[in-house]
């Protein structure tokens, strides 16, 4: 096997014995043995066994910061598309600080359809009713810019170790970048086409080692 690659596991592939370890994402247990559920990169630590999927849809988790698009305005809140099979709801109380008399005020003055927000997932019920909130340090409305969608499991690669990758793209292209855990990336700036190209390269070759150098090379070349 080429040394530049990470080992890939396929659905149903045996990972290791459980031995009291925690069952993480994308794995399942059968008679004390742990198998992968998806195509991905195995991650076996002392306490947990999990697999990082190489494809798949975003499944909401409490605390994730995501980029969503408003798709509907209701009496006391908004429906938000968070790039997942499930639509999220943003209640009025989680979006606006002041008291709003819903019988008099049209709440679309706060957020309207097609506007883009950066929010946090507040609650995921068992039946997948999802609530998001704007009561968060980084939550804000995103004005201008474009949205790029990638596979959600590749978000950590776009950010890189300690934000190395994202800072590299920011510095080289002078773009504003915001990454949602749901695989939506907001890019704003003059040189955004180059930033998008870099993001798509990361998505395509996320499973190889030494990606940061490759992206750096690509961004420096095209000057």
């Amino acid at each position: 096997m080429n040394e530049k690659e990470r080992p890939i596991v396929l659905p149903g592939e045996f990972l290791c014995e459980r031995e009291g370890k925690r069952i993480g994402d994308n794995v399942y247990e059968e008679n004390g043995k742990v198998f992968s559920k998806v195509i991905g990169i195995p991650k076996i630590t002392e306490s947990e066994i999990s697999v990082i999927a190489l494809s798949g849809k975003y499944m909401p988790k409490v605390g994730d910061r995501v980029i969503g698009t408003i798709i509907g305005v209701e009496v006391a809140g908004w429906f938000v598309d968070i790039n997942s099979p499930y639509v999220a709801f943003l209640p009025l109380g989680e979006a606006v600080e002041e008291f709003v008399d819903t019988s008099r005020v049209d709440i679309s003055k706060y957020y309207d359809v097609n506007e883009v927000i950066f929010c946090r997932i507040l609650k995921v019920a068992k039946n997948k009713i999802i609530q998001v909130t704007m009561h968060d340090l980084h939550a804000k409305k995103l004005v201008g810019g474009v949205l790029v969608k990638i596979t959600p499991s590749k978000v950590p690669r776009v950010i890189g170790k300690g934000g190395s990758m994202i800072n590299l793209i920011k510095n080289k292209t002078n773009c504003e970048l915001l990454v949602g855990q749901n695989g939506v990336i907001w890019v704003k700036g003059k040189d955004k086409s180059k930033a998008i190209e870099a993001i798509l390269l990361i998505e395509k070759e996320s499973h190889i080692i030494g990606l940061t150098e490759k992206v750096e090379k690509m961004l420096s070349e095209e000057k």
Binding site: E5, P11, Y28
Partner: protein, 239 residues
């Protein structure tokens, strides 16, 4: 002509020159449809099937949603030009049955309970039909599901077996499909050793049936390796 009346084996060789337990050439292509979540094209000799997977995605109308689990929908359809005489593109009784059979063969492999209220759609299009289309379809959809990142217990592999003049044969082509004494579609999860589809037409003895299942099982193991190699190849970086 009826089943068993056409000479399909002469001097131990079948009409296309294969030995009784020889498979046709298998060709696998991945990610053939860029806008789908996962897609694959599998060819067994002249039979060629295209599978594309979309989802998990929101399911509407709402009354179709299942509260505790997601659902799987399969659509098997033959292209009008896939057979000798033009086939009407409308879903007929056969297509509807095969759609259901394929769905039942794939369902045990998928963790549908991981995404309640949603649907996973599998669309199968037979581009060229020369026997064993349903098993080719199952192989293609297994690959497409894996590429779409749908959580699965194992890959599903399938093949067809049959009987001509007391000779047990593997991987039936179109003519053999029509005129052989027995034809059996078989699918399993080789990693788990579990059979997910067993359909048979014709008459066999108990011993023959056991032998047929054995042949099918060992063939599925081979197809399993082919599927795994194809998936691994996709993520190999060419440098």
């Amino acid at each position: 002509m009826k089943r068993g009346e056409v000479k399909l084996i002469t001097d131990g060789k079948r009409i296309d020159g294969r030995k009784p337990e020889e498979m046709r050439n298998v060709e696998i292509k991945l990610d053939v449809i860029s806008r789908s979540d996962g897609s694959a094209e599998v060819a067994f000799g002249k039979t060629r099937v295209l599978a594309s997977v979309y989802g998990p995605r929101a399911l509407f109308p709402k009354y179709l949603q299942e509260h505790e689990t997601g659902i799987l929908r399969c659509r098997y359809s033959m292209a009008p030009f896939s057979v000798d005489e033009r086939k009407s593109p409308a879903p007929d009784r056969r297509s509807i049955e095969l759609s259901k059979v394929i769905r039942l063969a794939l369902e045990p492999a998928i963790f549908l309970e991981d995404f309640p209220k949603t649907v996973v759609d599998v669309y199968l299009e037979v581009i060229e039909a020369d026997g064993s289309t349903r098993v080719t379809g199952i192989n293609a959809s297994s690959l497409a599901l894996a590429l779409a990142g749908i959580p699965m217990r194992d890959l599903v592999c399938a093949c067809s077996v049959g009987k001509i003049n007391d000779t047990l044969i593997l991987d039936l082509n179109g003519r053999e499909d029509n005129y052989s004494e027995v034809d059996m579609a078989f699918a399993m999860m080789p990693g788990k050793g579990k059979i997910t589809l067993l359909q048979m037409d014709g008459l066999v003895t108990k011993e023959e049936l056991k032998k047929l299942i054995e042949i099918a099982k060992s063939t599925c193991e081979k197809i399993y390796e082919m599927q795994k190699n194809a998936l691994r190849e996709k993520y190999r970086v060419s440098e």
